[in-house]
Symmetry: C2
Subunit: 372 residues, 2 copies
């Protein structure tokens, strides 16, 4: 094999497959690594493990076709720092060493037997598929995946639920203490309904790779036990979590005693100040007392002190209300709101709904702590 | 006690004493914390431990004088985030709680008995003293302290040697594998000779605090077992290391077979590339072969591969030379050079001297690895 490729293209491809290629949780060592395959005028880079498979193509000149299976943790950084724009990859069939050359640098390393690599299988047809764009998809993932459980005792909660029917697409994640839901309307209806639970950390890796400078078309195809995500010259296959996701529509509260409108920046700054003390207290508890168009907050760390602060708001309806939340959950939600003003919709001892004012497509729910 | 002070002044004072106040290596718990002392129109903030004492004053209005000894890890961050410019500190004599108020925030926390705090002793007269400025002193520290040993088995090497005689001031640090020396000429001679070993990590803390936007006068006074460093409204006392620092002038090589002039950026980039592989090899070894106005470098990581690169240079005198160094030590030195071109002065099996071209006041020495 002998290839002439641009450093920039190779670096981008390596960054794309890097995480899967270096998956240490994978004990099939034969799958730890990446495959470079140069045949029929096509240079493909692949990595594959139990959770995720990824395949990308790069432009370049194939002076001699061939394929190489290798694992080298230094390759991505070394390539990035090469002083020339063009780099040359060479491996003779009789030698198990491959070399990479660029500028005056030459790096030679051992390769493995290509037969030990399981290639990423590309399925064109699944039971349903739809298209959206990379900016929309990244936004859906970013606004929901953070609410996934990290505790793996109930696997369905470690994933984000993808719920597609006709032109309606929703993503939902919950760890049972808080829930994040974002919905969009597709330009074209899906070819069929999809209900799939995608592991949260795989979605984060997908989000990292989605181009957002310019929106690109993303095609998602659902197969029985995995999802295929295609954009640009990247093809990703992600494992799904088996099980039934709870009926999230029933969890979202619809009746409230108080609807509060508050400036997001003021509220965030106050919750952040209180959290400096609250974060060392058990469960990060912040008490909120809402009355007279003010939210008064307090928290205490028994080893240090008591902190209180308050923020003005507009309260519509209802009597004064006292309710406690985990401060970290509130800050997580505030980070994902985007408008200057937000709504806090609440009722005593009931989950609170937080959303940007005047937009209904993104909803966050936080369960209160036990009564004080 | 009741004080009205500017948030900015208090935050800066807290950041100044924070590290000493929170010193966890100190097992005299009574000294863990800080003292706020407001008497005679003077607001002083102090922290003190075995290694270092620091005292700073801030402007403000003393409505009621008094003093408070407290320890609270949240105080600095909380103060920084307060929404108002002015903050109010209050503690009544009958109450052990102190409160800080600013904007709508109120934070109350326990204080300790002021009698348990050992105040920082200020000595005006030592056996010798001199003045310099903050920019020069910070530069001296930054260019030398990095070479201190972290291994504490030979304490003198964990410190930076301050060598002052007349108008000549040198700082030197070495861990026996590499040495860094920087010298300056003082505007006014020191009132006496000073030879003191200052713990490297204390000097780093001093360097962190030295203002560098505008140079300020720094007065250094040597007392038998400590050094007093004064600048602006800050007074710092640092412990010294007992023992005799080796005669560093004898360690610096003066005879060379090869003097090489090389572009610092090219050399740094190449050493960084080689280091990606070398850093995983034992002792980070990089082999340098100097010949024909080229430095050829190579390194190998037995588990991965072999990397080689080369850089053009100007060699004056001498035959080809092969020598090996710890790549990290070379990179550490290159970070502290500043000119476009540097000198590498070497001889077979001998320490290499590295310095900026055409400036002799800053010298770095690196000991080679055993012959290959």
């Amino acid at each position: 094999m002998k290839l002439k490729i641009q450093k920039e293209d190779f670096t981008r491809a390596l960054q794309s497959v890097q995480k899967v290629a270096s998956n240490k949780s994978n004990n099939l060592s034969s799958e730890n690594g990446l495959l470079i395959k140069a045949i029929n005028d096509n240079i493909e880079i692949q990595a594959n493990d139990y959770d995720m498979g990824i395949k990308t193509t790069i432009p370049g000149i194939i002076e001699e076709s061939g394929e190489v299976f290798l694992w080298d943790p230094h390759l991505s950084e070394l390539t990035r720092r090469i002083a020339s724009e063009e780099i040359i990859l060479t491996k003779s069939d009789s030698d198990s060493q491959m070399s990479i050359e660029g500028g005056k640098l030459k790096y030679r390393y051992m390769t493995m037997n290509t037969e030990d690599f399981n290639e990423v299988e590309v399925v064109e047809q699944g039971y349903a598929s739809f298209t959206t764009d990379s900016v929309i998809l990244k936004d859906l993932i970013d606004n929901t995946s953070y609410a996934c459980a990290t505790d793996t005792s109930r696997p369905v909660f470690t994933g984000t639920f993808l719920d597609v029917s006709g032109k309606s697409l929703s993503m939902v994640a919950t760890d049972t203490h808080r829930l994040a839901l974002k919905s969009v309307t597709l330009d074209q209806p899906s070819t069929g309904d999809i209900q799939a639970i995608i592991p949260g950390r795989l979605l984060s890796e997908v989000a990292r790779q989605l181009p957002t400078d310019v929106p690109v078309v993303v095609k998602i195809t659902a197969v029985r036990n995995y999802l295929a995500i295609q954009f640009g010259n990247v093809y990703i296959r992600t494992r799904l979590i088996e099980g039934t996701f709870p009926d999230y529509k029933r969890v979202i509260p619809t009746e409230f005693s108080n609807i509060i409108t508050i400036r997001r920046s003021d509220f965030t700054a106050a919750v952040e100040r209180i959290s400096i003390v609250a974060k060392d207290a058990q469960y990060n508890v912040i008490n909120f007392d809402m009355a007279d168009n003010q939210i008064h907050m307090n928290s205490q760390d028994p080893d240090h002190g008591v902190v209180e602060d308050s923020v003005e708001c507009i309260m519509s309806g209802g009597n004064p209300l006292s309710i406690s939340f985990n401060g970290r959950f509130i800050l997580d939600v505030l980070k994902h709101c985007s408008k200057d003003e937000i709504f806090l919709k609440c009722r005593e001892n009931s989950p609170m709904l937080i959303q940007d004012k005047d937009t209904g497509n993104c909803v966050f729910v936080v369960t209160p702590m036990r009564a004080r």
